[in-house]
């Protein structure tokens, strides 16, 4: 287990659960510290344990935040709206429309590129169920991204108006 390799993966995993950079970062670091304390050094399986810790921390965080509406971060950064940024917002919106569970599977499989067996263990589902679910998610994402283009433009306009 090498932190250099896993840091961003755990960060992304957390980010798509808490939707806030600062919180995701803190949870990521907490995850690694807990991992270290656990003395879990078995080679190869470390990453699965890391995800489990991270998920628990995110759930805990979610309970704390229950009363407050989690604020979407100010992504405008004061800069001009670039195509990249629009793309980002657009993508995030699509991801938000997935269920929590599906989003987790999507991130684990296609962004962090974890092995199927690792995902099954982390998510606690069977291989068969995972394949079926992933197929559905792919289809759903495709629909969301292709069908939702007008939606995306609306967001961009209203955000811009708010920014001025």
């Amino acid at each position: 287990m090498d932190i250099e390799e896993q840091y961003d993966k755990i960060y992304r995993f957390c980010y798509y659960k808490v939707h806030n950079r600062q919180i995701a970062e803190d949870l990521t670091q907490e995850t690694f510290l807990r991992f270290l304390k656990s003395g879990y050094t078995e080679q190869g399986k470390g990453i699965r344990y890391l995800y489990t810790i991270a998920r628990n921390l995110c759930v805990e965080e979610g309970r704390k935040q229950k009363w407050k509406e989690v604020p979407e971060e100010d992504i405008s950064d004061g800069g001009a709206f670039s195509d990249d940024l629009i793309e980002k917002i657009y993508m995030r919106q699509a991801l938000m429309k997935l269920s929590e569970k599906d989003r987790e599977l999507l991130i684990l499989r296609y962004v962090n590129e974890e092995s199927v067996s690792a995902i099954c263990e982390v998510a606690g589902i069977s291989r068969f169920a995972l394949y079926r679910r992933l197929k559905c998610i792919q289809k759903e994402m495709k629909e969301l991204l292709e069908g939702g283009s007008s939606d995306g433009e609306k967001v961009q306009k209203s955000d811009q108006a708010g920014g001025r």
Binding site: D2, E4, E5, D8, N20, Q22, I23, E30, L33, P71
Partner: protein, 257 residues
């Protein structure tokens, strides 16, 4: 709320190490000349600019601080660790004034090679290499051979190389050489950022490179440090001071800037 979250990671764990680079009565003597003459100073977190004309002994001093050149006498330690130890090299990043590359290397190969020498596992090296290529803006040309790079690109690659192991002590010898004005601005920003948590020592003969980012300035002349301290706007222009101290030699230097 962000504050709440921040407190969760115990700060004493993150920032508990003192970080102090001590140079004590350092001397390097060659057969017929003294390149570095009984220099003593201490560096803490922050960016330190080492200013001096060519031949003032900057490079010799930096090589000794990197532990790759043995001093004639004197000590250099970092948090009590002598610079000749592997433990020190593990947290060191160094960009020499001039460096080469194996002819078959692409930009990515170059960084992967140094990642291996710095003890990163292959998978960690891959992640870190891509991250750094992005940081210095070489992702697009990463697969191209280093020999096709411009001077500025090669210099940026050298800077990336120095950062691979996330060094606590970063020593850069004339890092802005070959960079165009736009690259210089980016470089200054990067150094300012890195200097927040680390010791950064960079040598230059161009005052404007460090004027606004250096927390501390060392002026070197014929093997000795003739002035050291914090330079703030209220002290006036560093360049004027520099010119006064160095006389004609100084004028020559600012011409480059």
């Amino acid at each position: 709320m962000a504050g709440d979250a921040k407190q969760r990671v115990p700060k004493h764990i993150v920032g508990g190490i003192s970080m102090e680079l001590k140079v004590d009565r350092l001397t390097k003597q060659y057969k017929n000349k003294i390149a570095v003459d009984r220099i003593s100073f201490q560096l803490e977190k922050g960016v330190t600019g080492l200013l001096g004309a060519n031949g003032a002994g900057k490079t010799t001093l930096m090589r000794m601080i990197c532990g790759i050149l043995a001093p004639t006498s004197g000590d250099i330690t970092y948090d009590e660790i002598p610079v000749s130890e592997e433990r020190y090299r593990d947290i060191l990043g160094y960009l020499p004034q001039d460096f080469g590359y194996y002819p078959e290397f692409s930009g990515r190969d170059f960084l992967m090679y140094f990642a291996a020498l710095k003890g990163l596992s292959k998978r960690a090296a891959k992640t870190r290499t891509e991250e750094l290529l992005k940081l210095v803006g070489l992702s697009e040309v990463a697969a191209k051979k280093v020999r096709t790079y411009s001077g500025g690109m090669k210099q940026r690659l050298g800077i990336a190389q120095a950062l691979i192991n996330r060094p606590e002590v970063l020593i850069l010898d004339e890092p802005t050489a070959g960079l165009d004005p736009k690259e210089r601005v980016r470089f200054r920003k990067l150094m300012e950022e890195i200097g927040k948590n680390n010791i950064v020592l960079l040598s230059t003969h161009i005052v404007s490179d460090i004027e606004h980012i250096a927390d501390k300035v060392l002026l070197m002349k014929s093997g000795q440090v003739i002035w050291q301290g914090k330079w703030s706007e209220s002290d006036g222009s560093l360049e004027d001071f520099y010119l006064k101290e160095f006389g004609e030699g100084g004028e020559e230097m600012t011409k480059d800037a």
